[in-house]
Amino acid sequence: MEPTKTEFNVMESTQTDYSGTLMVEDEHELASGERVMTLNMGPQHPSTHGVMRVLLKLDGETVIECDPMIGYLHRGTEKLSETKRYAQIVPWTDRLDYTAAPQNNLGYVLAVEKLLGLNVPERAQYWRVIMVELSRLASHLVWLGTHALDIGALSMSLYTFREREMIMDIFETFCGARLTTNMMEIGGFSRPLPDTLIEQIRNFLRVFPNRITEYTDLLTANPIWLARTKGVGVITPEAATSYSLTGACLRGSGINYDIRKADPYLVYDQLDFEVPLGQFGDVFDRYLVRVEEMRQAHKIITQALNYIEHDDRPMMAYESAYVMPPHMGTMTTAEDMQRHFVWVIKGFSAPIGEVYHAIEHGKGEFGIHIVSDGGSMPYRMRIRTPDYVNLGVLPHMAQGAMLADMVALIGTIDIVLGSVDR
């Protein structure tokens, strides 16, 4: 049987009226005799965290249906990466989730290293853990500040952005950039560490536990915060699994799935940390889970830094066709310069095959699926971003919710539109 467009409820290309895409019609009369009201939330609404539009069907103040419309920030990263060599794609991954660029870099770089079968030195792996956990803190701090700002605790963002500034300064010392870091390289790190870096991280680690206490003092027992978050946006464990949620959205519902524990990458199996779980699956539980994740991230950074502080082993995979040849010899010997030139201009040929590698991003499972045809560019690269999949649960959560709770529901998923739209 030949499938037709009408059979699948596909919109015709000339049809731009969005009202038909929802099941409830505008003219539909409710049992109370009232009419359904359509409300357009966004794309400039501040609590949509960028450019997302949510179409709401309302019965009074109760949401009957909701339809999130995304894609305003779609840049075609997957298509573009089919025309870039493997080392050139790393900067593109910065632009996915721009509050946590090192984690995107890591997810991509680990997938490529898995495809190449490359072993990275232990010291580089520890430094990757430190940078990724700092970036997880930065991501959670942005989330906490803006989520509380949406709900009405205006002053939270002043506190959280203060600590995020310290993390951004650490990134600046480490790699020269603050937001789009382009930090990870295939094979490790090719440049030496700056002198002041460890002292800067130590300073941050010293003050941070007290700062977390400041946040929880402001929010955890705050009656307004409790009234706005407790029992709102409940996701059952079955729904969370079925909707493919990951990260704090899944663990807030009590399902223990953290890739750092379930399928350890880097050196996470040698570090001591715990995975916090929620109990009721509401907005408040997801808040508690993320705050506890910040404490655990602090614990991980401290352990990793204590272990690796006085280490001076190499940070780059040695003598491999896949990593960038060292810069040192390029100025003095012709052979080194030629090797460097050929690597930069031609890249390397990856083995034929396909891999999928997932890491535990601050927002959930960040997976890269690379199909290689043996060339120097990926034949197909799929980016599975956590917040795109997590946002799919919003219509389910919003059914029957109050209009004022919509900002809490959007905030609790922790979306960044650069990552949703890719």
Binding site: E2, P3, F8, N9, V10, M11, S13, T14, Q15, T16, Y18, T21, I70, G71, H74, G76, E78, K79, L80, E82, T83, K114, L115, G117, A239, T241, S242, Y243, S244, L245, I255, Y257, A262, D263, G353, E354, V355, Y356, A358, E365, G367, H369, V371, D373, Y379, R380, R382, R384, Y388, V389, L391, G392, H396, D421, R422
Partner: protein, 206 residues
């Protein structure tokens, strides 16, 4: 908690039962529990299994794509209950037919193992939707339709998601779609009405 519940919620760790986690990573693919089960239950529709970099890919026919996913989800021991990702690969440059590979990344939370399930379809052929099995497939299949033009039979709401609804240039992630799109893009200053200015680096104007 009774013994039965305990077994259901945890991975089976006793040796010699045929369901150990090591068997999922064994070099001999016929020992893989999924391969063993599917070749017994779906002998005609389970086509092939491939191992690369410690990852297992199984190939199934498009007709039973949903049934096999449902079977593995509800199986007492396999418990592949989580859909990580669903996407497609346009195989235009790699083989003549069929055109697309629809790829589902599955995961078992109790057993902690990944599995990639693939099915090959031609252009215009439809795949059974996974939405009745996993709700999370909804948006993934919408994106797959948006980017590749693959129809998912039984999807409740199959329309474009990332591109706008009146996008009339086709499906961008197909291999025959140029990176810059089909439309002409405007060329700035084609008639050179604006004078060229020399830059420090190139010595010539822009």
């Amino acid at each position: 908690m009774t013994d039965g519940e305990n077994q259901k919620s945890n991975a089976v760790v006793t040796t010699g039962t045929g369901w150990e986690r090591e068997l999922y990573y064994d070099d001999d693919l016929s020992k893989h529990p999924v391969v063993r089960e599917l070749s017994a239950v779906f002998p005609d529709d389970f086509l092939d299994a491939v191992r690369f970099r410690n990852e297992t890919t199984i190939y199934v026919t498009p007709a039973r794509f949903r049934d096999i996913a449902m079977y593995m989800r509800d199986h007492e021991k396999l418990q592949i209950n989580f859909l990580s990702d669903l996407t497609a690969v346009d195989m235009l440059n790699l083989r003549t037919a069929p055109r697309f590979d629809v790829t589902a990344q599955l995961y078992s939370i109790p057993n902690r193992v990944r599995l990639r399930m693939k099915t090959s379809i031609d252009d215009g052929q439809s795949v059974p939707s996974l939405v009745p099995v996993f709700n999370g497939a909804n948006w993934m299949e919408r994106e797959c339709y948006d980017m590749f033009g693959i129809f998912f039979e039984g999807h409740p709401n199959l329309r474009r998601i990332l591109l706008q609804d009146d996008w009339d240039e086709g499906h961008p992630l197909r291999k025959d779609y140029p990176t810059r799109g089909w439309k002409d893009f405007p060329v700035y200053n084609k008639e050179r009405t604006i004078r060229r200015t020399k830059t420090r680096w190139t010595g010539r104007g822009v």
